[in-house]
């Protein structure tokens, strides 16, 4: 069980893996948050950490993601798990990122994002992978802001 912190990214480093996590509490409807997380073509509009996301976020489908962490690199990821308004996982051979939404009462949704990367060769390239902490904090803040803006609109 990974202990996430609220609005602050935490990274746990091990010899063969690295895990970054964050949580935030959002005053919105899980349907809105889920729609934001699963509409690939709209991602870069509200999420300042992702420069483009192509493909469809549907179980078994592939997406191509470009992030501010490495503008030149295209991450080719598969959608590995989708439980509507609850859990989404995408990843590749090196790692996976899981998003979860849990209703905690009073209209609050706890959003958690965890990314684990690693494998037998991880120690060889671990030093070349930048920290995800700032990007995770920004991702969570952007999602919270956009979800709450939509909830309070109209």
């Amino acid at each position: 069980m990974i202990q996430t912190q609220l609005n602050k990214a935490t990274t746990v480093r091990k010899t063969f893996s690295r895990t970054t996590s964050i949580s935030t509490e959002i005053v919105s409807d899980p349907g809105i948050i889920w729609a934001l997380l699963t509409n690939a073509s709209d991602f870069s509009r509200w999420n300042s950490t992702i420069t483009s996301l192509e493909g469809k976020i549907e179980l078994g489908k592939k997406i191509q993601l470009r992030s501010i962490l490495d503008a030149k690199r295209v991450f080719k990821l598969s959608i590995k798990e989708m439980v509507p308004e609850n859990r989404l996982t995408w990843g590749d051979a090196m790692g996976k990122r899981t998003f979860t939404l849990v209703s905690i009462g009073n209209g609050l949704i706890r959003f958690t994002m965890i990314e684990k990367i690693g494998g037998p060769l991880f120690p060889l390239f671990a030093g070349m992978i930048p920290s995800f902490d700032a990007s995770f904090e920004q991702f969570a803040a952007d999602l919270k802001k956009e979800s709450e803006t939509i909830m309070n609109a109209n």
Binding site: S28, D29, I32, L36, D42, R45, M151, N154
Partner: protein, 267 residues
């Protein structure tokens, strides 16, 4: 509700229904068929109407469902639809020849820049996901409340809010990037170019500054400019306006071009 009451309400709203479906489907034939089918479907289901919504909302629900059935299998258009269709028009002499004939002979063959702005929105809005496009038209043009759109689209209030916010944001972004009327760096001047062709004697700048959208382009924020664009859509009936025949001819052209383009590119 009696059949007479249904018919009376239908007659009151059928103009709005027809323009709504035209703007969703971009097809004159589909708009006419769907509106006719809406009346037939409403007649069949009249006894199931429980008054949970207004009759107008109920009729829009039936029409929206028929439109969704019609459009679900069709590809969505692309943001640069006007570039693609312009190129096709320029390589098709028959298009301009027909258009000039309509301009010269039809009582609904005028060219007005504001009509083209409305036409342009219809085309570009077809690049939005269908539910976003439907929500935008229902709220911003036909002035339904969010609670009524929830009934029409059979979804939740949260999702309607999501569709409206996302669709609106996307359209603002597209027009801000493209439309030379509101952005000097905008790449699309098509309304002015066409005005030069169809109204060669007109003082174009004088016509442009009559539009609030243009007058306020430099000082107003993007949200307000979008609202001004929506006001134009509210004011113009695409079947009844003085430019209707010319614009509908153009719309049919664009739909044909886009269907071919999307088939070829499998987008």
């Amino acid at each position: 509700m009696t059949q007479d009451e249904l018919t009376e309400t239908f007659q009151t709203v059928q103009g709005q229904l027809k323009s709504y479906i035209l703007r969703i489907a971009a097809s004159v034939e589909d708009a006419k068929d769907i509106v006719q089918d809406t009346y037939l479907r409403a007649t069949e289901k009249r006894e199931t109407f429980r008054g949970d919504s207004s009759v107008k909302t109920w009729l829009f629900t039936i029409a929206s469902n028929l439109a969704k059935d019609n459009l679900r299998v069709k590809k969505r258009w692309v943001e640069n639809v006007t570039d693609i269709t312009k190129e096709a028009a320029l390589s098709n002499p028959a298009f301009f020849s027909e258009a000039m004939q309509i301009r010269a002979t039809s009582p609904q063959g005028q060219f007005e820049i504001k009509e083209h702005i409305v036409f342009c929105f219809t085309c570009i809005s077809k690049s939005l996901p269908l539910e976003q496009q439907l929500s935008i038209f229902l709220k911003e043009v036909y002035e339904f409340k969010v609670s009524e759109i929830v009934q029409i689209l059979d979804t939740t209030e949260a999702m309607v809010k999501y569709y409206l916010h996302t669709g609106r944001s996307k359209m603002i972004q597209v027009f801000d990037n493209r439309c030379a009327l509101i952005n000097k760096e905008g790449v699309c001047h098509q309304c002015s170019e066409l005005n030069g062709i169809f109204n060669p004697q007109q003082q174009q700048q004088e016509e442009l500054v009559k539009l609030d959208l243009v007058k306020q382009a430099e000082k107003a924020d993007k949200e307000h400019l979008f609202d001004l664009r929506m006001q134009l859509l509210q004011e113009i009936d695409p079947f009844e306006s003085p430019a209707a025949e010319l614009q509908l001819h153009h719309l049919e052209h664009n739909r044909t071009v886009m269907e071919t383009f999307l088939k070829k590119n499998d987008q």
